[in-house]
């Protein structure tokens, strides 16, 4: 029971103690405290804190030092760092304060379970101030009598603590109030200092961890003065044109400080300062005369000062003042040159004299006019001509010759020395060699190799080469002992200059040697515009124009042509810059190409616009190479075909154009056994040229022997009849169709008995067309009758005879018989028919007749082409044919009645009602 009350009381006491930490004013007494209270510790040092418990707590709450737990923030300090000094005091030790943090609390475990806070302190960790270093001071003069002194120092490392710096200073027997920096920790300004008294200056740095003082600096402030610069500087012209007098006021008393000075000056517009020798201004003064100046030149002056002995600092440069020296005579004559225009007249020159205005330091004043004297060297008797001009050029028209030109510049004070230029009649002297250029330091340097002779001087001409403007010549003179110089002009980058060097001799001059140059190159401003001149199957001729000079921006070193197909890689070809045309080869036919062109200078290239073209599908002559052989092959095939047909005409004729037996020529009725069967092929050919039988069907009958046509002969005839019966199915009934039937097809294959009957009853005759094949005018020679009327007996017999003759011999015999009466008359009927069909082709037919007669022709009538082409030859042949066979057309025409005189031949029949009717 007692222990329970004790525990409750203990808890209440602890709660009160906890509350006491948060209630200000100490209304509730704490159970303990920590010493030291809120210490400031040096980083890295060791530190020991003590937690002291109140005796009252010991009795009331059974709290002892061995129950104390030390914590940094919320982290428990290891027990190894604890030490129980007695039953109310516990200490904790940190060997390195860098492990410390704030707050450091003293806690206790009540009854070994509940942790209660007893006390806490804040710990500040930092560094003591370092000794300030590098203390230095300077006295700035701000007015004639005010000299504040500013001292600066290095405050040292950061201390992490509030560190105060003080600038302390004193005299031997007097201390002054400290100078406390404002907003900075490394400098302070003392408002006023006294010269000629040694002043001891030092810096004190202090914070919670200590103080540090810099090394003292003992100085007399007069030794560290930066005075104000002299003021009221004025510049006055002196008596001499080369002197200007400067005057100024010093703002520090000479009693305080003796000064020395620096005087600097420059020509107005120039950026480079010149300086009066320091030893000339090393003593106190308020004026100085600057000598050695250029006449009539405006100068800018400035001055500064410092302590005479050099101890201290230079003042700033004073404000700048200008002054102009007085005029003097021009120190030299103007540089002179000429341009000679000899194009207008061969006998005289137009001489443009030009000279350069003198530089201000040369003119030494205002040039009022130039006196130009021109003296002809060739005619010493003639007086020199004088001109006074205000400009810097003079154009004269002079006869060809050698002249001496003199120019003198005049100003208010006097005249310049004369400048002389010899204008020889011709530039016969040796020229310079190896003219070259080199951009250097933003300028263009021109060098050359001098001739061996003595050179008086050189003239370097140059002009800007441009498409938009003429080449305006600029020039400059250079002494004869040099072999290179910078161009003294406004040389612009990326522009082409034509530079010419002339050597001037005492008695003449050499011709100019030129070179083109750029001060600075750039990429071309545009690329060449390429286009095609000619496009082939695998090549394309590209052409372009050179870039203009204004577009080049440099020397064009090369062109590169890039070309590609739509989906192909780009190919580059480098082209010599002198070219304006290039042929792309190995291109793919019928392909769209994109081509562009880049022009390169030393600084890079620029591409021109893209250009597209399509290669051709066929190359040059390729079409011809195809077409011509094809045509030739076609012609050859045709020719071969014709020859083949000609050679095989019999076969063709046999199959395509079979000879239909002409009943009218049937000579069965005339047949007699006495007719000798001795004709051979040649006689047959003579008698019946094939052409003459194109209008008839011929039944060829082979004969085994030369016996007469007996009954035995009629057997094959029966066979023929059979063939005829089969031909019925082939007869179309259209005129001429039977001409396409073979003789065998025209014969029926039916049995004999019927054959005879059928033949006699069904044989059809078509109209046989002479020259009517295809588009030729069909002429009815005789027509096949659709009638089934039997032939006349005589006809049938004749046909029977014909049909019985199966051999060629027999057929020949047949024709022989037919023509045996008169060879000439044998063909006449044929001619007659021809005449009837195409009277207009009478000549042809005549020729044809001649051919047939001569027996040398083998052509077909149906081939008009062949007929025409061979007509003349045939005529010739006819004229030179062998004896007895050449028959002139007149002869043929002279026997028109021969046909009528053939009593046993049948004319083609026409179908009439009531049967055949001889015509």
């Amino acid at each position: 029971m007692f222990s329970g009350w004790n525990w409750v009381a203990h808890c209440l006491y602890l709660l009160l103690n906890i509350c006491s930490l948060e209630v200000s004013g100490g209304l509730v007494q704490s159970c303990g405290h920590i010493i030291p209270e809120s210490p400031v510790l040096a980083l890295g040092s060791n530190f020991t804190a003590l937690c002291i418990l109140n005796e009252s707590c010991l009795d009331f709450g059974n709290i002892y030092a061995n129950q104390i737990i030390w914590k940094i923030k919320n982290k428990v300090v290891p027990k190894e760092q604890y030490r129980e000094i007695n039953r109310t005091v516990s200490s904790v030790t940190f060997n390195d304060t860098s492990s410390l943090a704030t707050p450091l609390t003293c806690n206790i475990l009540a009854d070994g379970q509940i942790e209660q806070n007893i006390y806490g302190i804040t710990v500040t960790i930092g560094l003591p101030p370092e000794k300030p270093k590098n203390l230095s001071c300077i006295v700035h003069q701000v007015s004639k009598l005010t000299y504040p002194m500013t001292c600066t120092w290095n405050p040292g490392r950061h201390t992490f603590l509030d560190t105060h710096f003080r600038l302390k200073y004193r005299w031997p027997q007097e201390n002054f109030p400290d100078c406390i920096p404002k907003d900075v920790n490394n400098s302070c300004t003392i408002a006023d200092v006294q010269f000629f008294v040694n002043l001891e200056v030092w810096v004190e740095a202090a914070n919670a961890l200590g103080k540090a003082e810099s090394d003292p600096l003992v100085i007399d402030p007069i030794e560290i003065v930066k005075p104000l610069s002299p003021h009221n500087l004025s510049v006055n012209s002196g008596i001499l044109p080369t002197v200007l007098k400067l005057s100024w006021e010093n703002r520090i008393s000479i009693a305080v400080m003796k000064l020395k000075f620096n005087i600097r000056y420059r020509i107005i517009g120039d950026t480079n300062w010149m300086q009066v020798p320091p030893e000339d201004t090393a003593s106190p003064r308020t004026s100085f005369s600057v000598q050695g100046l250029r006449p009539y030149t405006e100068y800018v002056f400035s001055i500064r000062c410092m302590k005479e002995d050099g101890v201290g600092y230079w003042s700033d440069w004073s404000e700048e003042k200008t002054g102009v020296t007085t005029e003097d005579k021009p120190s030299k004559g103007p540089a002179i040159w000429r341009i000679i225009d000899a194009s207008r007249s061969p006998a005289s020159w137009t001489v443009h004299l030009m000279w350069k205005a003198l530089e201000p330091f040369e003119a030494s004043g205002v040039i009022l006019y130039y006196e130009v004297t021109v003296r002809a060297k060739s005619s010493l008797s003639s007086p020199p001509e004088k001109y006074n001009v205000n400009t810097t050029n003079l154009t004269l028209k002079l006869p060809n010759g050698t002249y001496e030109v003199t120019v003198i510049a005049h100003n208010r004070v006097g005249a310049s020395p004369p400048s002389v230029l010899l204008i020889p009649a011709s530039n016969t002297k040796a020229p310079v060699k190896n003219v070259r250029t080199l951009p250097k330091d933003g300028k263009l340097w021109v060098g050359w190799t001098a001739p061996n002779s003595y050179i008086l001087k050189y003239v370097i001409e140059w002009c800007l080469v441009s498409n938009s403007s003429d080449c305006t010549i600029e020039w400059q003179n250079e002494p004869g002992n040099i072999q290179g110089t910078y161009l003294k002009g406004d040389i612009k980058p990326f522009k082409c200059y034509l530079i010419t060097v002339y050597p001037l001799y005492a008695d003449g001059q050499g011709s100019g040697q030129s070179v083109k140059a750029y001060l600075q190159q750039d990429r071309p401003s545009k690329g060449p515009t390429v286009q095609t001149k000619k496009v082939g199957k695998a090549e394309a001729v590209l052409t372009w124009n050179h870039l203009t000079v204004d577009e080049q921006n440099g020397f064009i070193r090369s062109y590169t042509i890039f070309y590609k197909t739509i989906d192909g890689n780009e190919t580059a070809v480098t082209v010599d810059p002198s070219k304006t045309e290039y042929t792309l080869s190995s291109l793919t036919s019928d392909t769209l190409y994109t081509v562009r062109m880049m022009a390169y200078t030393d600084e890079g290239g620029r591409s021109g616009p893209d250009f597209t073209f399509t290669t051709q599908k066929f190359g040059k002559g390729e079409i011809e190479a195809i077409v011509v052989p094809v045509c030739l092959a076609f012609l050859l095939i045709v020719l071969l075909g014709v020859l083949f047909c000609f050679n095989k005409r019999d076969l063709i004729k046999k199959h395509i154009w079979p000879i239909v037996p002409d009943p009218s020529k049937s000579n069965i009725a005339q047949w007699s056994p006495q007719v000798p069967a001795k004709h051979n092929f040649s006689s047959k050919d003579q008698m019946y040229p094939e052409g003459s039988f194109t209008d008839v069907s011929v039944v060829e009958i082979e004969a085994d022997d030369k016996k007469s046509f007996s009954e035995q002969d009629l057997k094959p005839f029966d066979l023929l009849k059979k063939e005829k019966s089969t031909s019925e199915g082939h007869s179309s009934g259209i005129g001429g169709s039977s001409c396409m039937s073979s003789p065998r097809q025209s014969v029926s294959d039916s049995d004999e008995g019927e054959t005879t009957q059928n033949t006699s009853s069904t044989v059809q005759y078509s109209t046989v067309v002479l020259n009517g094949y295809r588009d030729q005018t069909p002429v009815q020679v005789f027509s096949r009758s659709e009638s089934t009327q039997p032939l006349l007996d005589s006809e049938e017999r004749s046909e029977d005879h014909a049909g019985g003759s199966d051999s060629t011999t027999q057929r020949q015999q047949y024709f022989k018989q037919n023509g045996g009466q008169d060879e000439t008359n044998t063909d006449r009927p044929c001619f007659e028919r021809t005449k009837q069909i195409t009277p207009a082709n009478e000549g042809d037919l005549v020729g044809f007749a001649q051919l047939q007669i001569s027996g040398q022709s083998s052509q077909l009538l149906g081939l008009g082409l062949e007929k025409n082409t061979q007509e003349a030859a045939l005529l010739g042949v006819l004229q030179t044919s062998t004896e007895g066979q050449t028959v002139r057309p007149e002869t043929v025409e002279g026997n028109p009645l021969s046909v009528d005189e053939m009593p046993k031949s049948y004319l083609p029949q026409t179908e009439r009602q009531g049967g055949y009717m001889p015509q």
Partner: protein, 237 residues
Amino acid sequence: MLSITGEGGGIGGGTDHRRLGAHRDARLFPRTGVVPFVALLLLQRRPVAGRALLVTGAGCPGHGLCRSNVQEQTRRQVALLNATAQDLFSLYLKCQGEPFSSETDRLCNPSGVFFPAFRVNRTSERKEVMVAMYKLFAFLNASLGNITRDQEELNPTAKELLDRLHNTTKTTRGLISNLTCLLCKNYNVFQVDVSYGESSKGKSAFKKKQQGCQVLRKYVQVIAQAARVLLPHLSPP
């Protein structure tokens, strides 16, 4: 042991030495910026016997600052005061207006005011010269302080005059520091009796102007003499 006495007046000093100057106007120095002269008015009651009173130099305050250049600094200071004294006097007259501009000789006759005796010449002993100068510039420093105070009251807009007065006062202050150093270091003298002038406090404006005019006129005369006397003594060897 320092013994400081005053004759006919004293100078107020700084915080530590204000007691030393019975005639010193305490307002003067804070307003003019002149730190009260340390005024170790080392009085040699018997100059001739002064040697017997010498102490070792180790006891001189600020011994480290008493360097070899102090002698030259002292000469330069005297030269500076001499160079600016006439301008200061002229400017003072100019700023006081009539009748001081026209009746300078009559109104500014210095015979009517106290001025410490400066009875040394080039042949005097250097130590004697130094002591005489110390007395002179101790008086001048106090007098210039009073004049500056009066002019700030009478001619507050005369900036240049005030600047010159301030500057001259500062220079005399530095000169006293150097003389103290020289006397202590070289001659072991650290007690000098000094006399201060009559205070103008409570006098009329005219009297203040007249007293200032009289002191400055005398100052011009004496500083020139001091410069001449001091030259051979303080010139670099």
